[in-house]
Subunit: 232 residues, 2 copies
């Protein structure tokens, strides 16, 4: 391969970021908001079991809770749980902060002309607050679960985001804090990078296919050259 | 070895249990209470970084926070942080529940005449509420950080607890949800059993020396014969 071909390959790489636990520090609030919602509906699940489900969404998340609780939820109960979670999460949402280096990492990628997008299992209405917090302006590609039939661990969000960036899926790096991001990355044939700042362990993330694991966005930014982003 | 010698060995086995995250579901509340306390004092740490420090105590915990924050705390600041944590934790403590099977596991060990104790990095004043919640009565051996110079990951708590049970340290099984319990167990030459219900991953716990990992106390109870407790 020629030098020019290699250069072109670097220019075409794209980054697809998860939001909760990857760019903003909201996983523990989501965990306890779901714990409160479930308890309100008479379902007792340990916080750690709920924590491990965060990052999944919609039906898949509810199926995970059903499995944990060994109980089938009626569609009315599911609707009730979603409303309760929204209420409890809103109460806790003032505590949420950006994760270290999140803003700088995204700004640096933009400066290096590396395309990136946010692909989140959440809804667009819930993405406004964290996006504002990250001070990224309005010109950001964001794909939410409103736009796909199945969110993570299905790869649909990533496929839509890559298409919107006009980058081949195989040239994308998915960055996420949960095993669901990394399983979705594998399904989509992207490379997965894990971040520890959502509370999953290094070996868990490696076990789900992360080819590299960093502490937080700041640590990823300091090691961009390990994953193929070379400073000009 | 004769059959009788084996039987004696089984009778002499003792269990040393961590409390927070092992018997009661309080790790996420402690995590966010510390996050709030630190933020109140002008220190921003991601919740996941704090979560990984829970289970350590006193000076060692503060040193871990100092390392995470890349800052040295004055003794006045440390006192302030401890007070803030106590206040924020109290606000959240009504949400705490026993973990699945905690009561049944301890009752079963008592029924099988297997000695057990609780060895917690917390203070005795903070242990009252969870102990009451577990409905264990008053005849329980509890060793807290009030009684030792250094709590976990130092092995002192376990050494005191084993002595009180009149069981050799090498015949003890330490059960905990954090790597600090398991490192302390190794230091004390006990066997370590990890529980996932404090939010650490299976491979993290195995990496810290757990020779077996279970989901929660209920799962441990269902597999007691794997770790040498045989029903009569």
């Amino acid at each position: 391969m020629t030098k020019a071909a290699n250069t072109i390959r670097h220019r075409n790489r794209g980054f697809l970021f998860d939001l909760d636990g990857t760019l903003v520090d909201s996983v523990y609030e989501h965990t306890l908001a779901w714990r409160d919602a479930l308890e309100h509906a008479g379902i007792n699940l340990p916080a750690a079991s709920i924590h491990r489900c965060i990052g999944m969404s919609g039906n898949v998340l509810m199926q995970a809770f059903e499995r944990e609780a060994d109980e089938t939820f009626s569609s009315r109960k599911i609707e009730h749980l979603n409303k309760l979670h929204a209420t409890y999460f809103k109460k806790r949402s003032q505590q949420i902060r950006p994760l270290p280096g999140a803003h700088d990492l995204l700004k640096s990628l933009s400066f290096l002309k590396v395309p990136w997008a946010i692909a989140t299992s959440g809804k667009m209405k819930d993405a406004h607050q964290p996006l504002t917090m990250l001070k990224l302006g309005t010109n950001v590609t964001v794909v939410t679960s409103d736009e796909v039939e199945h969110a993570k661990p299905e790869p649909d969000l990533f496929l839509v985001a890559a298409k919107r960036l006009k980058v081949e899926m195989e040239d994308c790096i998915v960055v996420g804090d949960s095993v669901w991001d990394l399983l979705g990355a594998q399904r989509a044939r992207a490379l997965g990078v894990g971040l520890l700042c959502g509370g999953s362990g290094q070996r868990e993330l490696e076990g789900a296919g992360a080819y590299r694991v960093y502490r937080d966005p700041a640590d990823l930014l300091a090691h961009l050259n390990e994953i193929g982003v070379l400073a000009r």
